[in-house]
Symmetry: C2
């Protein structure tokens, strides 16, 4: 099913922006009277009938609204973006397919990447929900320093995944909760001071198993296991 | 830890091929007397001392051999390669990181890709085990027609993942067994005749959950959930 996105929605009608309108009229050849499905990124599938088939601005009249069934728990991953941007963008796409709710890019002591094109990242998230038939857009927070993030982080169940020896929760055990936040460090891991700071702020130690995983694989791994446990 | 690969190993010594030798001598500046760790792709980490530091052919004397601890179950995924080769290569890398044992690329009725560069695929698998510190190279079988594969497939627990309505096993239930084979179709799914043929040959219906996943994500999803269940 072809989905369009719009953030211009009122009680009666939906307006598509220039890019979506062009795709709707020029690429998909939709005309006045056609029914399209629009997502708002907030969990609604909106069936609407095109009333103005303008290639620069499509207007459609709302016929019905269906709310997406969201299966808890809420998963929030804080992760240090990889040096290779392609790998981080790949994580964004896959995590979205697997139903992640919130992503916070963090800057750690060992981070190789300290900047991020958030607009490009949001485009990837948007195309991923459209491709995977979802109506809820994951929340991408701004890039933030690890220390600041850890001190402000609010979640019922907070975990920090690292490779230092300690008594660690397994991923399956960690994902039993509801409101879950998991912090994943950069290549080269968090440093010990960062792990200590997290634990002082209520984070528990988490093991992602025996396999040595790339950062983006670790993030995807968490999303996949949570998705499966919620089925 | 830097790993080298060799398939020229006898009781006493290891010989590195031209590519590995160049990397060892010219890139990593190893010299006679240095200890290197070599993997054989069959589950052994071999500690060896360089006796001939030749940039075209390094010879090293075996000091000790450590067998990799393999956690069952044995996972074999039969999957239709994606049209976009990058996505399939990405699957190969991630599945290897997560410990897949065997991969069979299959050609289905709806397949968009009917050829595969197996040499390139094997290079990706090899670099993935070296990067993730593994000694066991996943077995990549030759590209094969779906019908032929299904009729010859031998595994204790065989599943076919598809989107047609039926009584399906969940992934977590499917992964309880030991010797597991999961068939994943192309974009556009298997056709009904293919699903029927698989079931006639002992495959059970499998659901990969409610999310609409790209093919390569579906394959990775299976690897991740099995990896977590084996921890």
């Amino acid at each position: 099913m072809q989905l369009f996105f719009s953030d211009h929605i009122n009680d009666n009608e939906v307006i598509l922006d220039k890019v979506e309108s062009h795709h709707c009229i020029h690429v998909l050849r939709k005309i006045k009277g056609d029914i399209i499905t629009v997502i708002d990124g907030k969990g609604s599938f909106i069936e609407a009938e095109i009333v103005h088939a303008n290639a620069k601005q499509v207007t459609a009249q709302i016929k019905s609204i269906i709310k997406e069934e969201i299966t808890p728990p809420h998963l929030h991953i804080a992760i240090a973006p990889t040096k290779n941007m392609e790998r981080f963008e790949w994580f964004l796409e896959k995590a979205t397919e697997l139903g992640i709710a919130e992503i916070t890019p963090i800057i750690c002591r060992h981070s190789e990447r300290r900047n991020l094109n958030e607009e490009r990242c949001n485009k990837i998230l948007l195309s991923a929900i459209k491709q995977s038939g979802k109506a809820m857009l994951p929340k991408l927070n701004n890039l933030i320093q690890f220390e600041k993030f850890i001190k402000e982080a609010k979640a019922q169940n907070k975990f920090i995944a690292h490779c230092y020896p300690s008594e660690k929760s397994t991923l399956n055990a960690a994902l039993n909760g509801n409101d879950i936040l998991i912090a994943i460090g950069p290549e080269g891991d968090f440093n010990l001071a960062e792990v200590d700071l997290a634990k002082q702020n209520g984070f528990k130690d988490l093991s992602l198993g025996k396999s040595r995983l790339r950062r983006e694989t670790a993030g995807l791994y968490v999303c996949a296991v949570l998705n499966a446990s919620a089925q």
